[in-house]
């Protein structure tokens, strides 16, 4: 379904906080995040005529623009890998698949500060998926559409992010008596 200008404007603006949060996770810099979001809207405005409102609304479309911009910018500037390659992520996490979590997620309630720090230590690609899933309530399919990756990749990133978090927090939780080792 094609949107009128007013509808497009309203829908696009509703996603500003979401885009900014994702941009913050990707760039890890408030200024760069603002630039990225602004550029995303510029591209969206230019590409509005090509936008067709479908199953998941405007969110995945805007996120895809943002993500593609981020990736292409990273490639252009060659400062760092734009997106962590899946193989590298998998290599870094090898041996964790299927293993039981080091701590019970129920313990997360008592460790908010540590969780913030542990989340910040996650690779960007994990952070993005985690943010979309946990904060924005995206379905796997929506995340896959937004980041242009297979659903299996979304699931594995979530799983590994959870593993890493639990591992990262295990020491603290044991010290504080939140869990027994």
């Amino acid at each position: 379904m094609k949107l009128g200008r007013e509808e497009f404007e309203a829908l696009a603006l509703q996603q500003l906080d979401l885009l900014y949060r994702v941009a913050r996770k990707l760039t890890r810099d408030p200024g760069k995040a603002e630039d990225l979001v602004q550029e995303t809207y510029l591209r969206a405005i230019r590409g509005r005529s090509g936008f067709d409102l479908q199953e998941f609304g405007i969110r995945p479309w805007l996120l895809r623009i943002l993500h593609n911009l981020y990736v292409s910018k990273g490639e252009r500037e060659a400062r760092q890998p734009a997106a962590v390659e899946e193989q590298k992520l998998e290599a870094a996490d090898s041996g964790h698949d299927g293993a039981a979590l080091p701590i019970d997620p129920a313990s997360f309630d008592a460790m908010d500060e540590q969780i913030v720090a542990a989340l910040d230590r996650l690779p960007k690609e994990y952070q993005t998926v985690m943010l979309l899933w946990a904060v924005e309530d995206f379905s796997y399919k929506e995340i896959a559409a937004a980041l242009d990756v297979p659903i299996g990749t979304v699931m594995s990133r979530l799983h590994r992010a959870r593993q890493r978090l639990a591992e990262d927090l295990r020491g603290y939780a044991a010290n504080e008596g939140i869990i027994r080792e």
Binding site: L16, E34, Q38, L42, F108, A134, V135, G152, R162, L165
Partner: protein, 280 residues
């Protein structure tokens, strides 16, 4: 049948991953950690301004492709052109024997603004007038301070920005408004029923390529611009009847240009306009 390589294989390799990842505790923890973050107000204002000033999407040019009469019309045009050419070459009628007439003397001293750019500038001018007047203050924390506006927008545009108060005009505010999808610095003024915009546009976003003066009358608007140091400084004026003329905007343009050229001494205000140019 063996699965094709690529997407199917990558997905099926993820065997250990649970089918549905339900973890409300973790979700709640991440929400508490990250959920409260919102976009800064300044970014929101800029995005709102961009969306508000979005020029209309040009209608697709379908006539030539879709209308069955288009071919007939095109053929007729070609026939007429051939007829005129033959008429000129074979000397029939009272036409000069020289088939190529000299071009008429050019009375225009300055180049016109490319029509596409003129249309984009006008679309932004009209859009901002319709949506924001009399409050076009879309750059936060600048308090109508021209130096602050110029500083803020220079950082955005990476070119020297011109921000001025114009004598006889009410300043209605500045915004980072897009022209043709590219950000510009847009100052908006009113004088009775007349409206006037002053844009600073990075040259990379225009079809104009060389320094100099430009002026056009386009679609009921008067435009005058000058190009300097990689930026185009363009005035767009509109008003009922003939209340705004091309001569008016050219006069303001010339005045601004005169102040713009030399380095601006701090605190030295011109009699007609206070000018802030940040070229650091």
């Amino acid at each position: 049948m063996a699965p094709a390589e690529g997407r199917i294989c990558r997905t099926t390799l993820m065997e250990p991953v649970p089918e549905q990842f339900e973890d409300p505790k973790l979700q709640a923890a991440v929400r508490r950690a990250w959920g409260g973050e919102t976009a800064p107000a300044a970014l929101r204002q800029r995005v709102q301004a961009m969306l508000a000033s979005e020029p209309g999407v040009p209608a697709p040019r379908r006539f030539v492709l879709w209308n069955p009469l288009a071919g007939v019309a095109a053929a007729a045009v070609v026939l007429i052109a051939v007829g005129i050419a033959a008429h000129l070459f074979f000397g029939k009628g009272n036409v000069s024997s020289n088939p190529v007439a000299p071009p008429p003397p050019t009375a225009v001293a300055e180049a016109p603004i490319p029509p596409e750019n003129a249309a984009q500038l006008i679309a932004t001018h009209d859009g901002c007038c319709a949506r924001h007047l009399p409050n076009h203050h879309l750059i936060p924390s600048t308090d109508d301070d021209m130096t602050k506006i110029a500083d803020f927008m220079r950082r955005q545009l990476k070119v020297p920005v011109l921000a001025v108060n114009l004598e006889g005009w009410n300043f209605d505010g500045a915004g980072p408004c897009p022209v043709g999808g590219h950000e510009t610095c847009h100052l908006l003024y009113q004088r009775g029923p007349d409206t006037l915009s002053l844009f600073t546009v990075p040259l990379r976003n225009l079809q104009i390529r060389s320094d100099g003066n430009y002026a056009s009358t386009f679609n009921g608007h008067v435009l005058a611009a000058f190009v300097r140091n990689g930026a185009c400084y363009c005035l767009v004026g509109a008003g009922p009847g003939n209340s705004m003329t091309l001569a008016d905007v050219k006069s303001i343009r010339n005045d601004l240009e005169a102040h713009f050229a030399p380095p601006v001494a701090s605190g030295k205000a011109s009699p007609r306009a206070s000018v802030a140019v940040n070229s650091n």
